[in-house]
Symmetry: C2
Subunit: 113 residues, 2 copies
């Protein structure tokens, strides 16, 4: 995984509208218009959010007549989770931070910064 993939994934998740879009897509594929409906926001604004999600690989777009159905691809969320897992021991407490970190580095290297 290249670092800028994580950049794109995390920055896609940093906006509440985009997180809400993902929550809607978790229900299933839908059109841009239906995605835009709950938001006090113009269509083009939603199109832009979808482009950000697409760049992060979180949304896949199809073609069906004049609609562009959007669906969720959660694979990048797994990448984000995998990165966060490196830090789990820090919020679970009771450990020797330095020692565990060094063990981890020895095992995995630091390619996933």
């Amino acid at each position: 995984m290249t670092p800028d993939r994580l950049d794109h994934i995390f920055s896609a998740l940093a906006d509440p509208t985009r997180r809400a879009i993902l929550a809607r897509l978790a229900l299933g594929t839908t059109s841009v218009t239906e995605l835009a409906e709950p938001f006090a926001m113009s269509g083009p604004a939603v199109t832009k959010h979808l482009k950000v999600l697409e760049r992060a690989g979180l949304v896949i777009r199809g073609r069906e007549a004049q609609w562009r159905p959007c669906s969720l691809d959660a694979a990048p969320l797994k990448e984000a989770t995998d990165w966060l897992e490196h830090y789990r021991r820090f919020w679970e407490g009771s450990f020797d931070r330095l020692e565990e970190y060094l063990q981890d580095v020895q095992k995995n290297g630091e390619e996933d910064v």
Copy 2:
């Protein structure tokens, strides 16, 4: 958890310099100068990154003579992970998306969008 907390957490994580700073802080508390050392970047730039991390609650700063020791607080990373957990079933495959989503909403509500 308020939505804008997630905004701050995810946008803090969206920059490779900041992720590298977190990786360094996983080794233990250190000074701003030492944090800045690996980067081809001015001191003030690093100070700004630290402010972003601080706003997200990921970095805690102390005071020791003329140094401001920085240390990691991973609690917000748990919040991010908790949010991502909602989507785990989507990357683990083999499920009825709609059904599981509705179960989840029924259990937890949607306060964590």
